[in-house]
Chain length 259, copies 2
């Protein structure tokens, strides 16, 4: 999504040229290019698909058919991780605990199905500013509590710096998630203000905001995590620029501010 202006072949070519070994994909561009065609494109280039985004929205779409489809797509792409944006309040509801209970119930149904397909579910806590309309899971502690009933190989969490950087309890939760083997993905974006209207597309390029990204990488590293590190920037200004240039810049900023 950081360079959604690139075609999938353009993205793959850029990653190969820059030494980026894997890519996190979103379902929509995969569907547009074709599921099998995407799998072959990435595989033939020697890249891995790190994660597929996204399943979830359990609170507004209790029918899990689309989530089962997402699981099958992840398996077809060769990734073991489906990222979940769990959903906010059901329509007309003001009850976050009920929303979280709906999420727990959906996980209980989806996790075994995913496991049968060799896919892990990765609950991504989203920043509390999305609690109403996108994700009632606002902290790593909550995500870990939801994952707890399941084996770590079935349900884990995504640690995304943009969503958890403000949380004084997140470092301990990262350590616990790592010890349990539940860090299924580690994503990076920086925080800058003022936030844009709608607060969706203001994620800042690495090193330009207020998050100590290297400290977060050290926290995750310290747990023994060896999985992928993804850069996920939703940013209108980046999307308006040349995608290859943004990709190169992102690699440089990753080296400078994270590695």
């Amino acid at each position: 999504m950081t360079v959604r202006q690139l075609s999938l072949p353009g993205l793959v070519e850029g990653c190969v040229r820059l030494g980026v070994p894997g890519i996190g994909l979103w379902r929509e561009p995969v569907a547009t290019y074709g599921l099998e065609a995407t799998a072959k494109l990435v595989r033939d280039a020697g890249l891995t698909v790190t994660t597929l985004c996204r399943g979830g929205f359990f609170t507004t779409a209790p029918d899990l058919d689309d989530n089962r489809a997402a699981v099958r797509e992840a398996a077809a792409l060769g990734t073991d991780t489906l990222v979940l944006v769990s959903g906010g309040l059901p329509p007309g509801s003001r009850d976050l605990p009920v929303a979280r209970a709906l999420i727990a119930r959906a996980l209980a149904e989806l996790a075994p199905y995913a496991a049968d397909h060799g896919v892990r579910l990765a609950i991504e806590p989203l920043h509390p500013m999305y609690a109403a309309d996108r994700c009632a899971v606002s902290t790593l502690d909550q995500a870990l509590a939801l994952a707890e009933p399941f084996p770590a190989g079935q349900v884990g969490v995504v640690v995304d710096t943009y969503h958890v950087w403000w949380d004084d309890r997140a470092p301990a939760a990262v350590a616990r998630a790592g010890a349990e083997g539940r860090i299924h993905a580690f994503q990076l974006a920086d925080w800058s203000t003022p936030l844009p209207a709608g607060v969706l597309n203001g994620r800042a390029p690495l090193g330009t905001g207020t998050i100590d990204l290297r400290a977060w990488r050290a926290l995750v590293d310290a747990t023994g995590y060896t999985g992928p590190v993804e850069v996920e920037l939703f940013n209108e200004a980046l999307w308006a620029r040349d995608g290859t240039e943004v990709l190169e810049e992102t690699v440089r900023s990753y080296v400078e501010h994270v590695l």
Copy 2:
């Protein structure tokens, strides 16, 4: 601030007419109208000043002169509570724990001074979306930890539904704050999306958003809290309307959705 388009006499007249027994004031309009004149205006109308907003920003203005002035203004207005917006990251810093340490240090200096003037400091945790630039204190738990070294009569917290509604740990923190006698103010605003650019002035009128305001009132009531309940809406659309009409509407929505 809900009706900042009203003059102070207009606000006072409206409150008296509508049976609102007290008003929370901000320093800027008080300074414009005159400190002693404001105190007299409110007193002569038989109203109380519930709180003064605001002190704080300890992380960017370590000199406490302006905060001491705010304490004296609170005392002159006859309110016992100065609301604190504690401040975000110091310039160039990416270290939230350091910001919180600066806040703790400032409290240690300011609290005795405030106590000498009969004024309590009320730490307001702000929504995590303000952590970088306005307030590194993002949860009631953090606010209570900062208040803990001081007597409850010197330092407490503000419970504002807009800032804490998403937090699954907030109900327990409200109970603890109440048991400790540290709820110094209870403020109401509703949450609605999409948030406006800058995310400052999108607080929703009571009953129009996703917060179960009556449930929060019940939580605060259950602690034995008998202090003021303030409605604090920063909302461009409300500010653009006739202030008296907004005041009347706010009273009606308070009766309908909170009382």
